[in-house]
């Protein structure tokens, strides 16, 4: 999931009887699967939770460009370079769709970006891992975008209209990302040298667990997940989504001829799902707290991009003003 651990402010779920008439009408609308739009009344907690979740999601798209940007100059062929640039441009676009959806809730884009830079807002833990070899571009597309798709397909049904519509648009574009990633790995496994094949397995070994962490911590009885599900901001629990991802990914892994770094991963005939080992949650929380391999570098790069681009934005405003004056004078 691109948004992990979103605070809802709820201590426990209110019953319909405990709600104010407005809250009750709102909840009944959500229960009837009627989308909430920007101008509709909504509980303050719903609005705040959405701003947190959508901004986290948008920041993830934007920071997600960085591990891939690392390989634009190093991609092995012109074709791969073009594909990678197209994918990165998509991520920028996804960030923009999401920031727009967030703004419909009255949030300010610059303020939310400032929160990211100050370390107050999160982005997905996955982007704090480095991309060390070319096969990482394949593994990122296949596993990371694959995990994002599982999450985002479900979010197309989220209760807030602008968020849901952004998800529909994003999902349409996302499957290109996953397929191009898988194809990179397939090409290496089919036509590559032993060294290149080892590179693929190495990329999978490093990115497998962090990809599973993308779905967030285990579902517990925490009021946050319950509230998000009741408001239908979230539509499926973290564990359900993670299981869906594993079930669809393992056959693809086997087709590649690779293995997962998880000795407990095996098909369970009884449940009809794959069993898998326990995630290293200490690592997850460490990365989320800012202590992953690349956290500081990612934020530094983002800040630098904003600061060094300031003159471009200023020039654009000056140019627009001048054009306006000229049109008025003519």
């Amino acid at each position: 999931m691109y948004a992990q651990l979103v605070e809802t402010g709820a201590k426990r779920l209110k019953t319909l009887e405990e709600m104010s008439p407005e809250e009750r009408a709102f909840q009944e609308k959500v229960d009837a699967e009627i989308k909430i739009e920007a101008k509709n009344w909504m509980p303050e907690g719903y609005r705040k939770t959405l701003v947190r979740q959508i901004s986290q999601h948008a920041h993830s798209e934007v920071v997600g460009m960085l591990p891939e940007g690392n390989w634009v100059t190093r991609a092995p062929t012109l074709k791969r370079k073009l594909q990678l640039m197209a994918k990165i441009q998509d991520e920028a676009g996804h960030g923009l769709y999401l920031y727009s959806a967030m703004e419909t809730l009255g949030a300010d884009r610059d303020e939310e970006i400032e929160k990211l830079h100050q370390g107050k807002a999160k982005y997905s833990s996955i982007f704090n891992y480095p991309t060390l070899n070319w096969a990482d571009m394949g593994a990122v597309g296949w596993l990371v975008d694959g995990a994002a798709i599982v999450n985002q397909v479900v979010l197309q049904r989220t209760s807030y209209g602008p968020y849901s519509r952004a998800m529909v648009r994003i999902c349409k574009e996302e499957s290109f990302h996953q397929r191009q990633g898988y194809q990179i790995l397939l090409d290496l496994m089919r036509g590559g040298t032993d060294e290149q094949k080892a590179m693929v397995q190495d990329a999978i070994n490093r990115l497998w667990w962090p990809s599973l962490m993308m779905f967030g911590p285990h579902d517990d009885e925490s009021p946050n997940s319950q509230q998000s599900l009741a408001w239908k901001i979230k539509r499926k629990s973290n564990d359900e989504l993670r299981q869906m991802f594993i079930d669809q990914t393992v056959p693809q892994l086997e087709f590649l001829g690779c293995t997962a770094p998880d000795p407990d991963l095996k098909w369970n005939e009884e449940t009809g799902h794959y069993d898998f080992g326990e995630i290293n949650w200490q690592e997850f929380y460490d990365v989320l707290k800012g202590n992953g391999p690349c956290n500081r570098e990612r934020i530094r790069t983002r800040k630098k991009a904003i600061d060094e681009g300031a003159w471009v934005r200023e020039a654009a405003v000056a140019y627009a003003k001048k054009q306006k004056q000229r049109t008025a004078a003519a």
Partner: protein, 93 residues
Amino acid sequence: MSEWRLYEVFVRSKHGLNHKHVGSVHAADAEMAMENARDLYTRRSEGVSIWVVPSDSITASASDEKEVLFDPSEDKVYRHASFYKLPDEVGHM
């Protein structure tokens, strides 16, 4: 970037179809809004024409006006072709 004006973007996906609202962009002026809209909403030949309109130029109906505006048309079934039953012999009309 928030100080830049917000523009709503409408895209005509094919000749002969209406422009449809697809989202919004921030831009310093209309020309830049057009360029940003092109980059953001038509990367995969989704459109043959774009409109950009300053968001604050749009007057929208309020959600609490829904009944006042739209309920009057609900009980006027005679405005629909299906209200008029004709004998089968007349054929398709």
